[in-house]
Each structure stands twice: as C-alpha cells, then as structure tokens.
C-alpha cells in the first residue's frame, strides 16, 4: 500500500511531474480512501467518481504532453458551495438537494484549467451558516481527531477531509471565519484571502460583502500553490479586484528575522481558553526565537465585530436567499395550493432552522424604521473595525492570535445556544468585516485536539502570510500530524 495520503500537495506534484505516479492512480487512491473512511466522518456530500476518473485521464494526457501546471493531476475536494457543472451543488441544504449546476464557478474553472481533479463536494453548514457543521441537511461532520467533536464550520467537511487525508487539499469559503476556524479545529492550514482576491462567481452567496473563497491544505506551501490557481480578477465578479497575481510560492523562503508581529490584547482576553492561550504563546515564542519582534497592539473595536457581523451578514443573506423560492429550481413543496403557499412551504420546508433564523434577523434589520438603527449603524461601525487594522498595520507586519477561543467542542454542545456558537467566531469575524487576509496554522494540541494560530495580514499581503506560516512549518511538524485512525 502506498502512502500518498501522507504526502503534501507539493510532494504529490513532484511525483506527478516526474511520472512516479499517474493522476489516475492518485485519484483512484483518494477515491478509495473516501469510500472506505468517510462513513466515519460524513465529510463528503457527493463523491464525483466518474467525472474525477475522466478528469484524471485527461490530466495524465497533459502530464505526458508536458502542458502542465504545478497542480496538474492533483485531486482535490470542493466545498459544496462552489457550483460544479454536472455535479450536485447543494450548499448543505435540502433547498438545493436536487440542484445539478449547469455551470462551473470561476474557482472551479480555474482549477480545471490547471488540470486539477474534483474528487467530490464536501459537507458544510447549510448555506455556510454555522461554526460547527451541525446545520447541514446532510448531517453533522465529525472531527477526525475525536469523532465526538465538531470539525468547526462552515467549511467543516473540507477541513475534516484534509485532516483525515481523504483529499490532499480542498477549497473553502470564509464569511466570518469559515476557513480559519475549522482549519484550526482540525489541525490543517487554511487561508482566507483579501476580499476581492478570489472570484465569488459561482460561489453561492451567503453575505456578499464578506464571502471569500480560499485554500485549505496541509501546509502553507500547499495553500500558496492552490492560491496561485484560485486568485485573480474575474470580469464576472464586479467586486473582484483587478490586480496582478504574484507567484505566492516566491516569498516562502524569506526569513522572518525582524518581522514585527502584533499581539492584540483583545485576542487574549478572558474568553480565551487558558490551554489554548498557552499553545499560542509557545508558537509566538518560537517566532521570537526566529528573530521576530513581538509588539503589543490594540484592536479596540474588536468587541463590536460579533454584533456588527450579525446585522450585516443576516441582512445580506436575507436578500441573497430570496432566489430560493421554489419557482425555477431547487426544492418545491408538494401540491402548492397558491403562490403564497408555494413560497411559504417551499422555503419553510427547504431551509433549516439556522438559515431561517438568519433570514428573519436580516429581514428585521432591513425593515422600514429599523434600517438606520441596525444596518446603517453596523456599516458605520464596520469602518471603525477596518480602521483598527489600518492603524495596527502602520506599526506591525502581521497580527497574531488564536483562530478560535477553544479547541473543538462536542457535537450538540452549542447547537441549541446560538449566542455561544456565534462567539466561537469572535477572533475571526473582524478580519472579514475589514476585508484583510487571515490564516490559521496548526501550532499544537490541547488534550489531543488541535490548536490553530491565526495570522492576519494587511490587504493583499497573502504572500507575507504564507511566508510567515511556511517559516514556522519549516521548524515544526504539527502540520504533518495525522489522526491515528486515518494514518
């Protein structure tokens, strides 16, 4: 038996390029791992076996002809929020359980152009609304490090699949922490790019001004390779930014000597688990040992980020999800007796509780008489939160802190307590509100559960984040740990 699952994406790339393995063999290998081991995790909604094998055969042709990119022949998984032509794209919802997308998201298309194979579609919180992957219509995803625990959310399926090495890497999306928090809870490396860096076209919208797709992989280097394919201006997305895409692997080997790391006091407050804090502190000490300068900073408006987020995101989602009305595609109730019945039952039956909760909160926040007090006020406060980061980056190069206040919690523990669930994103949400890039990097364990260090950079400084993470990973092997049952 081979050990392809122990390889990073970069290592697999070398094997493919040198012809030591074919894409077909690699794809078959991971498909079989998924089929054998995902029953335990529930990290996939759809396994796209036939398409994957066909794509692998094409990739092998390309590899022979020499017309390749570093990613040609690599199989990955896509979060089920990305539209994939000919493959069910459910967004974790009953509403889209019958939806086969007729088109590819720009991100999916970019990977196809690079010769990447789609193994399947990963589980997620319904419409990306959740921090535990428990709101999925397809059931909770289990954390491969401890299957009683959640993998985080909303990209919980992608995080669990990569952590269990059912796929070398996966795509995710991050609206309030949905890449970084599950990456932290599952012990993998995940990057949320600057808002506008990766096209949102074909990525089913939750909160349009916050949503951003990004890579979830084992290492920073793998994330860099993925981002090379994902990033770029897209004329189909007016909010994508027309800015040259650098080679994100180019700066990986820069030294961090002299790097100024800011530690915001607000990210180390009483809400942070002491054991997690200790692990984070150790990682920061290691950066100091590598020559970085540690600076105490303030992000004074951090406490506003959760309330601001829970006005802005539901408001946008309340409109974004209006298209799911049972008229043109998706779930339609049985025997609607009139239009009103069609709408209310299709939406009532098609959406789960958390989605309905957010649609109602958002609808309320935008209603006549409340708009100024909620939505408008939230947008004003959002500027203050952005200003915190702008000010901080005048004196530091990156900001570090925990990606999550605790390690993975138990399935069911917070499901009935939305406020406590919402607070698990307290360290990640501000980054989305400001639009800056952020990463989570595995830096250790507490009682066998992974801890993620969050690294936040200035706008478009993904290269620096990847460099900073890569340098740490050159000295540690937390990112190479695999849960026992998936070794």
């Amino acid at each position: 038996m081979s050990d392809y699952h122990e390889k990073t994406l970069a290592e697999l790339s070398t094997l493919l390029q040198t012809g030591e393995v074919s894409s077909s063999a690699l794809t078959e290998y991971f498909l079989s791992r998924i089929k054998q081991q995902d029953a335990e995790l529930n990290s996939f909604i759809t396994i796209a076996e036939d398409q994957a094998m066909a794509e692998a055969a094409e990739a092998d042709e390309r590899l022979k002809s020499g017309n390749t990119s570093a990613l040609t022949g690599i199989p990955i998984a896509h979060k089920d929020i990305f539209c994939t032509r000919g493959i069910k794209t459910s967004c974790g919802s009953r509403m889209l359980d019958n939806f086969i997308s007729p088109y590819d998201a720009t991100v999916v298309n970019n990977f196809k152009q690079a010769g990447v194979i789609t193994l399947g579609k990963t589980n997620m919180d319904e419409f990306a609304m959740g921090s535990s992957n428990e709101t999925s219509f397809y059931g909770a995803v289990k954390n491969p490090w401890d299957t009683k625990r959640v993998p985080g959310g909303s990209s919980g399926g992608s995080a669990a699949a990569v952590a269990a090495r059912l796929a070398p890497a996966a795509t995710g999306t991050d609206t309030g922490g949905s890449i970084r928090q599950p990456a932290a809870l599952c012990g993998i490396t995940g990057l949320k790019p600057t808002y506008g860096r990766v096209s949102r076209y074909g990525m089913i919208a939750f909160a349009s001004s916050l949503d951003q797709g990004g890579p979830m992989a084992q290492t920073a280097e793998d994330c860099a390779l993925m981002l090379n394919a994902m990033a770029g201006f897209d004329e189909k997305d007016s909010t994508s930014i027309e800015k040259e895409v650098p080679d994100y692997t180019a700066d990986l080997n820069h030294s961090v000597n002299g790097l100024r790391i800011g530690l915001p006091s607000q990210y180390f407050d009483e809400g942070l688990d002491d054991n997690v804090k200790a692990v984070i502190q150790t990682a920061i000490d290691q950066y100091r040992d590598m020559g970085a300068e540690i600076v105490d900073i303030e992000l004074p408006n951090t406490s506003l980020s959760v309330p601001v987020y829970y006005v802005v995101a539901p408001a946008e989602c309340s409109a974004n999800l209006s298209r799911f009305d049972g008229v043109r595609y998706g779930y339609r109730c049985e025997d609607p007796k009139d239009l009103y019945d069609l709408y209310t039952r299709s939406r009532g039956e098609g959406f789960g509780a958390e989605v309905k909760r957010r649609i109602m909160v958002g609808t309320y926040a935008l209603s006549a008489g409340y708009y100024d007090a909620y939505y408008l006020k939230a947008q004003q406060l959002r500027h203050l939160i952005s200003d915190d980061f702008k000010k901080a980056f005048e004196s530091v190069d990156v900001i570090m802190g925990p990606a999550s206040p605790s390690t993975a919690f138990n399935i069911g523990e917070k499901a009935e307590d939305p406020i406590s669930m919402y607070l698990s994103d307290i360290y990640t949400i501000a980054v989305n509100l400001a639009g800056v890039p952020g990463m989570s990097v595995p830096v250790g364990f507490v009682d066998g559960n992974p801890v993620g260090l969050q690294i936040i950079g200035n706008y478009f400084e993904e290269s620096r984040l990847l460099n900073v993470a890569h340098q740490y990973q050159q000295q540690t092997d937390w990112h190479r740990q695999i849960p026992d049952s998936f070794k």
Binding site: F82, C83, T89, C91, L96, F99, S101, P102, Y103, A105, R200, Y201, G202, M203, I204, A205, A207, S208, S209, E235, K236, D237, S238, T239, A315, E316, S318, A319, L321, S322, R323, F324, D325, V327, R328, Y329, G330, L339, Y343, T363, L366, S367, A368, Y371, Y375
Partner: protein
Amino acid sequence: MNYEAVIGLEIHVQLATKSKIFSGASTAYGAEPNTQACAVDVALPGVLPVLNKEAVHMATKFGLAIDAEVAHRSVFARKNYFYPDLPKGYQISQFELPIVGKGHIDIELEDGETKRIGVTRAHLEEDAGKSLHEDFAGMTGIDLNRAGTPLLEVVSEPDMRSAAEAVAYMKKLHSLVRYLEICDGNMQEGSFRCDANVSVRPRGQQEFGTRAEIKNINSFRFVERAINHEIERQIDLIEDGGEVVQETRLYDANKDETRSMRSKEEANDYRYFPDPDLLPVVIDDKYLDEVRGELPELPDQKKQRYMDEFDLSAYDAGVLTGSRELADYFETVAAKTGDAKLSANWVTGELAARLNKEEVEITDSKVSAEEYAGLISRIKDNTISGKIAKEVFDAMWNGEGSADEVIESKGLKQITDTGAIEAMVDEVIANNPEQFEQLKGGKDKLMGFFVGQVMKASKGKANPAQVNELMRKKLNS
C-alpha cells in the same frame, strides 16, 4: 367647488442597449420565451451582476439633456419583494443615490405658453420578467426574456395640473429619449411606460390632496383618459362627502375606469439596501464632457433654430421638432425645395394630417421626403395650385408615381395662359349675366362665385390669382 388636479408622472424608459443591464443576454423583443435568459437572468445560485456600461452612458446622456446634475457617485440598491417573474427575489434599482438628480423639461401649453416641469430624479434599474396567465390551465408561465432589461425610471415633480399637461410632458419626454437615441419609444412593446400620481385639491389650496397612483398606462390616449377619469372619480368622491385614500389603481382601457389594486396598508416594505455585489458608479467630469460632446441638437434648440433661421411660427416649429424623425424629414424637404416656410406648411398640414389619419409614423410615410419635396417644388414654381397639389399628393400616397409623373399623366398642370383663362372668364360672365350686373352694382360677395365658377370650368387648373385679376379687369372695363 372648483378643483385643481395635481399630477406627477413616473415614466419607465427602456434603454436601447443591445444586452441586459447586468448580463450579456440580448434585449431583443419578441423571442421565444426564456431563450434570452442566461444564468444571471434566471438567478441561478452563485451568479453575480455586472453593470452594462452603455446603460450608464445612456442615463448620463439623458441627465445632461434635461440639465440635471449627473451624480459623480451613484449606488445600486436591492428592492426586495417576492414575485415569480422576479428571479432573485429582489430588483436591482437605485434608491438613495440615483444617477440623475434634479432636472427639468419644458412643455408647450395649448395657449402657446411654455411651462417648466421639474424632474425629481432618474434612476437605473432592471426590468422583471413576465407572468403568462393564459395557456397554462390553472398555472402561470414565467418568461424571463425581459428580466434584466435596462430601465431608466424618470420621476417628475407634481407640477402638472391637467391631463393635457401630463400628456404634453409625456410626449416631450418621449421625443427627447428618441432624439437621444436611448430608447426606441415603442409603447406597444412596453419600451415607454407610465405611472401617474393624481390628486385633487380645491383651487387656491396650498397642500396637496391624497394621491392615488395609476399603474402602467401605455399610450398617450390612455394617459389622458385615465387621468381625467381619476380626477373625476376623486372630485365625485369628495363632493359626496368621501375621502380619497392613498392606493395604487389599475387603469382598465376596455372599461375606461381605474380600479383599486392595493392600499397603502398593503404596500410592500421593500427593505432597500445597497447591493453588495455592485460597486458604486463613479462618473468624473471628463466623462461628462465627453458625453456632453455627443449630444445631438435637442428639440428645444432645434425649435428655436427653426424660428430664427426659417422664420417659422413657434407652433409650426414645435410641431416639426416634435420628433427627431419628423424634423429630419422636414429638413430634407426644406433643403430640396429651398423654401422652408412653404415646406413647413405642407409638412405640418397635408402630410401630418395624412399620417394621423392613417396612423402611420413619419418613418413609414408612403411619400418620402425627397418625393414630397418634388411636389412642393411644383407648387412653388406655379406648375400646380395648392388645391391640385392635394390631389397629386393623394395619387403619390397611393403609389401612382412622383409628383411630376402624376401631374403629367393626369394633365393637372396649372393653366397660366392668359388668353385661355380670359376665354373661360368671358364664358362664365356670359352664362351669368344677372349676377354680373349685381357684382357690378357693388355686391362684392359675388366675386367669389365668379372665381369659383371659372376654377370649376378649368377643373381647378386655372391659376386663381390670374382669374381674380382678369375678373377685376372685366369689372372695370
């Protein structure tokens, strides 16, 4: 009591872009249902809108043409409501920051006075699809071909005081958007649609009465009828001790009545908010200057020029500049004949009457400007009289050939041979001796009788001026 109506119009101008406002699908009218609806128009999961620059260009032209402030920064907003032909569950429109701000349009009143009507704003938005209630027993069909078609909604101030003023405003706006070539103006196909806000108040009162909004009135004639009907309804209601309620009413052209659609209480809360999928539209002065440079001569400027250059009356100049096509027609005729005034008379007279009667647009006139100029030239050089010209025009309209061909084949050339006319005059006098004596005795009215008789004898071909002159000579001899 004496009442005064207060009217404001909201006019939806469908912009003549090739593709939709937020997608690349075609806007052509009349295709098979749902063949011009792409992924964005159908609102598939994950799709995003991308603004059509040409729609912004057209809106900018309009703003400059009505002397309005074109916003340096305007914002698209989502207007949320559920309807089966609204695929996203919201319409992308503009709310707080429209692209065109306050401007104005001048209309001509029946008494010849000019009145300035304020334009509050004009904003860009997308059209919805169509719900098809026929042909689907118990169900509704949805056609999304129209979904995403660009509209410019032009909102007037409540400055109009009668249905006639409202129609004059609507016609002026219709003419303007066609001058600007930003709308095809086709009302049957819904390219130019009108909602009217109507209220009444006792004459002299400052405050407005409660208004009713009449939706979707799609011809000039219906606008006039719908508004007049609504004014009457409101006055009757008040006179009977009732109260006008704020509501939306629908005009039924078949029954010539308006009926209530929904009251204020039932009105939607549209929950407008800025669309996060679209960036603000930013327009700089350089762009405005470029667009200003592209503007054609506008109706008011053209009208003034006709008055100055051709010495036309304000009325004639106004009629001729009523549409760009009519003005172009007139200018071709005037250039060919070299007589603007005569050309103006014949274009606004015989031709306009015929177009009106046959309900034909000037662009579909059966007599081209060049052909019509041929006819007018024959009047000008005295080949035919005005009366004969009408007969020639009839023949030309019926496809019997050019003016010269018709004159030739029908032998309609005016008789200018003095001898021939004098012979006819003598004959008429000889046949009517008594009347001639009375005329001589001072009964001047009989002059007309004699001229008429001679014209009749000549089958209209005698030159009337010559007939007059000869008769006078006979009287004095």
